[in-house]
């Protein structure tokens, strides 16, 4: 059963600290800044994305603090507008869209494919520097007169406001290219660099998710590029495309913007699906149920995501005909999404569940994302959306799916791949506490917002009626809890890096290829690509836990898991 030509370099030794790995292989700052190693690029992305998350999160805390009282609490109204704009822009463009693909995908994808690197390593590094450049542009807007248009940059306000919109838009434009090149890279990697024996339906679900995401990235992102470019040209040269006083059409801007931004939300969440799809079978010690359905559903979501952008524009002036079409197709997206959720739950049924930190995040995901996704269906109903549009209901919906979906999955993936990437185990107890805190904090923050929205509290409002205050205060309390949870997580994760490497090759007992090599991996990943003879979630029963190394090994050979 075990393939004879295994590529496991580590034979049941507790750590690879003595042997060379990608972290220790080259020293010096230049070896990091000019690296072409996808793992190092992934680590740099991870650090950068989490830093941006901290910045965006700080803005969120300030916003929520401001909302403790109906009038002014700590900041002025103009500052408030700028802050929610930058919070949104940073979170969307700097954190969630790159997040899982660029950070976790870069670390894990070639390893899952038994490859030595992505298809275009230089392009990969270029993607990272484009991210940095985009971030710098956005921060330029931040420290000068930050944009106050909302992250959606609607014209004609965005083309006429006095705040510094152009750096923010330029930042988003540049980040778009970072996203496109990452997607392009992954598509070619998955097509061309799979190992012998790994047909499409033997790829891990994380790979499938990254593939679907990459397709969206490549097809949709150019449209936001041209949209932002048109908006910037309109702002500077007043050419008259979106501004009605110049002969333009503001609804056209919204069509252009949402043609990308709706598929963008699938860029944000589909990789999360992939992470969950990899975590659940491992921690249930049971093969995934309905593998093909989950794999294909990612593609279906990617495709359908392009057909529904008008559901953001039901009250924008769009025609009723278009609205009805978009509404109907939006319902359809619930189907492949639900298929995933049902299959994951069925996977856990009669499995042997291990409630390690990654699994806690996966379970949190199931709960929070389901709520978020279902409320999306509520909003898809045009007649309901007419009342809920631009209220806190929408804010709660997208935070449930983005925070509860993408961020929870990002955290789960970070904890899952942390031992592999850094060769250290974090403190499991703190990990669980952090996961529970985040989960509770999420719900306390955002569930009241559903109620606020359905009772009429508009979004992006600085002042509000006193009747909404108790719910706002509850939500703010939840936000602080979230902050505490994230801070705690950051602390114990960084603490773990100061230990000596102690992680085994396969601490979780997974069957995907990245766990057949040492933790951390050698800089070259695999000497030769392993020949794959089984599916990515097969034969967990052949792996047995070895307490000496605190990891799983093959029953027969005693080696770490093989292909």
């Amino acid at each position: 059963m075990a393939s004879p030509s295994t590529t496991a370099d580590v034979v049941a030794t507790p750590s690879s600290s003595d042997s060379d790995n990608y972290l220790t292989h080259d020293k010096g700052i230049a070896s990091w800044l000019l690296t072409l190693d996808h793992k190092r690029i992934g680590v740099m992305y991870l650090a950068s994305v989490l830093t941006a998350f901290a910045l965006g999160g700080t803005f969120a805390l300030i916003l929520r603090t401001e909302l403790l009282t109906p009038g002014k609490t700590i900041i002025e109204h103009d500052t408030y507008n700028q802050m929610f704009t930058m919070h949104g822009a940073i979170m969307v463009f700097l954190v969630i869209i790159p997040g899982i693909p660029a950070a976790l995908g870069n670390i894990a994808l070639p390893l899952q494919l038994g490859a030595k690197d992505v298809a275009f390593p230089k392009l990969n590094l270029a993607s990272y520097y484009l991210w940095v450049l985009g971030a710098v542009c956005m921060l330029t807007s931040l420290v000068t007169s930050a944009a106050d248009t909302g992250w959606t940059f609607y014209a004609p306000y965005s083309t006429t406001t006095q705040t510094n919109v152009i750096p923010a838009a330029m930042g988003a434009f540049i980040l778009g290219f970072s996203s496109i090149f990452t997607g392009l890279n992954f598509i070619v990697t998955i097509h061309k660099l799979r190992p012998p024996g790994m047909g499409w339906f033997r790829m891990p679900l994380f790979t499938w998710a990254l593939y679907s995401t990459a397709l969206i990235q490549v097809l949709a992102t150019p449209v936001i590029g041209i949209t932002l470019l048109m908006m910037m040209v309109e702002r500077t040269l007043h050419i008259g495309i979106f501004d009605p006083t110049l002969g333009g059409d503001p609804v056209l801007f919204q069509h252009f913007f949402w043609f990308y931004s709706h598929p963008a939300v699938y860029i944000m969440v589909v990789p999360g699906f992939g992470v969950i799809g990899d975590i659940i079978p491992v921690f249930s010690r049971k093969r995934i149920f309905g593998y093909k359905f989950i794999a294909v559903s990612s593609l279906a979501i990617a495709f359908l995501g392009f057909l529904v952008w008008g559901h953001h524009m039901f009250v924008a002036g769009q025609s009723l005909l278009a609205g009805s079409i978009f509404s109907a197709i939006t319902f359809l997206i619930a189907i492949p999404t639900a298929i995933k959720v049902f299959n994951w739950i069925t996977t856990m049924y009669k499995g042997r569940i291990h409630l390690d930190t990654p699994m806690l995040y996966a379970l949190a995901f199931l709960w929070v994302f389901t709520i978020g996704g279902l409320t999306g269906v509520f909003l898809a109903v045009m007649s309901v959306d007419v009342h809920l549009h631009d209220t806190y209901f929408v804010v709660a919906h997208f935070h449930y799916v983005m925070m509860g979906g993408a961020i929870t999955a990002l955290l789960g993936g970070i904890h899952y791949w942390w031992p592999k990437a850094f060769g250290r185990m974090y403190n499991e107890k703190l990990g669980r506490i952090g996961a529970v805190t985040v989960f509770v904090g999420l719900n306390v923050t955002f569930f009241p917002q559903f109620i606020l929205g359905s009772r009429g509290m508009p979004r992006r409002y600085y002042n509000y009626l006193p009747e909404f205050q108790p719910l706002h205060q509850l939500s703010t309390f939840g936000a602080y809890m979230l902050g505490v949870g994230f801070l705690m997580t950051a602390v114990y994760l960084i603490q773990s890096l100061r230990k000596k490497p102690d992680a085994p090759a396969n601490p979780w007992g997974s069957r995907t290829l990245e766990w057949t090599i040492s933790s951390p991996p050698p800089y070259y990943n695999f000497h030769t690509p392993p020949t794959v003879t089984r599916g990515p979630y097969d034969d967990y029963e052949d792996l047995v836990y070895d307490p000496k190394i605190k990891g799983y090994v093959e029953k027969k050979s005693g080696r770490a898991a093989s292909a």
Partner: protein
């Protein structure tokens, strides 16, 4: 699945082979990724083969897929502009009819041919690279670059003419000539051109015979009008401003004039709701002067171009359609963005030329030429659509 290199025995530490030349899209990590360089015969025989690919075929195929994906993104990138074009042309056809008289079809056609020839030389260059025909390869690249410069040169000439003629995007749109004064208009619609001139003269006479506001000369109309049109794009608003006496230069001192059509003609340019009451207007005065009703040939091209009629900016004197500048905004944006892509293409071709001069390409390594040529063909493709859409409007 592609071939794999045969399993090689692990070696503890390998001396690093000299890093192969860096090339478009393929990595070579000079920090020792190339531990197989001197042990793997395929990598040893192919200095351009990156360490993470096993065979030149795999590398070439990966690059091909990569460039096609990139071309996909370029198509979607231009799609936004094509969408803006489509929407505006569908909703404001008169703006496009008006504007096309200002464009030089000949120059556009020459540019099309120039790009097509450059596409040939690009495709030919790929063949040269595949067959290791170094001299021809360099020649074809040079010709491609020359054609590209030619294209940009002609574009520069066109843009220069436009700037001189005041055809700028946005509120700076101020044509120095009226559309019916253009040779292209006169050639196609001589009666209409002459009729428009007559109308203008009549308008001047009418203005001169009324008290009060100074009459702006027709040529200035194009320049003065934006101030009123940009406010509301709505001549009646300008008329009402004139009624309050706040804008002495506002056209249409005939304040009560309702928008109208010459009597007895049909218009193809949409309806004029509830505004056909025959009032004392400029044009009705014209017909009442006993010159008979204007003919279809005289009037229809003017209405189609929004010079007179319900889509015109000024209801009382021939001018231009509302928001005429939108066409030129779209024109400059589309051709400008395309031109930037041509310029980038020139840069990449020069890079390829430098590599070709070192005879780097051959049957086992011609990917970069192929990918550059594909990009170039896409630039040509976009122009193939831009040309009829912008220059061949009828």
């Amino acid at each position: 699945m592609s071939d794999r290199a045969p399993e090689v025995a692990e070696t503890p530490k390998s001396s690093s082979a000299p890093p192969p030349a860096a090339d478009h899209g393929h990595a070579h990590d000079d920090h020792g990724h190339d531990d197989h360089g001197d042990h793997d015969p395929i990598h040893a025989a192919n200095p351009h083969l990156a360490h993470h690919f096993d065979t030149p075929q795999q590398q070439f195929d990966a690059g091909k897929l990569g460039i096609w994906l990139f071309l996909l993104t370029e198509v979607l990138f231009f799609a936004g502009l094509f969408c803006a074009y489509t929407v505006y042309r569908a909703m404001r056809p008169e703006v496009f009819v008006y504007a096309h008289y200002f464009l030089d079809t000949r120059l556009g056609a020459i540019n099309t041919c120039v790009l097509l020839v450059s596409s040939l030389t690009a495709a030919w260059a790929v063949r040269n690279a595949q067959l290791g025909q170094h001299a021809l390869l360099k020649l074809n690249i040079v010709i491609t670059i020359c054609c590209a410069f030619g294209f940009l040169g002609i574009k520069y000439v066109e843009y220069h003419h436009k700037f001189e003629d005041g055809l700028l995007p946005g509120p700076r749109f101020a044509p120095t000539e009226q559309v019916w004064e253009l040779p292209s208009f006169k050639a196609k619609h001589p009666e209409a051109a002459e009729y428009a001139e007559r109308l203008v003269k009549r308008a001047e006479k009418l203005e001169g015979s009324k008290q009060g506001a100074a009459v702006p000369a027709p040529a200035v109309l194009g320049g003065a009008a934006p101030t009123s049109s940009t406010v509301a794009g709505n001549p009646p608003a300008a008329a009402s401003a004139a009624a309050t006496g706040s804008a002495p230069l506002a056209p249409g001192a005939v304040v009560e004039a309702k928008p109208e059509l010459p009597h007895g003609t049909t218009t193809s340019a949409g309806t004029s709701p509830a505004e056909t009451a025959p009032e004392k207007t400029l044009l009705s005065e014209t017909t009442q002067n006993g010159e008979g009703r204007p003919t279809l040939e005289q009037v229809e091209p003017l209405i189609a171009a929004g010079v007179i009629g319900p889509k015109a900016e000024n209801r009382d004197v021939p001018s231009r359609p509302r928001n005429a500048h939108v066409f030129f905004s779209v024109y400059f944006f589309m051709t400008g963005l395309h031109g930037i892509h041509v310029a980038v293409g020139i840069g990449v071709w020069i890079w390829m030329l430098l590599k070709a001069m070192k005879n780097e390409f051959g049957p086992n390594y011609f990917g970069p030429i192929d990918y550059t040529a594909l990009y170039w063909h896409l630039v040509d493709l976009i122009w193939i659509y831009l040309f009829p859409l912008l220059y061949l409007i009828h």
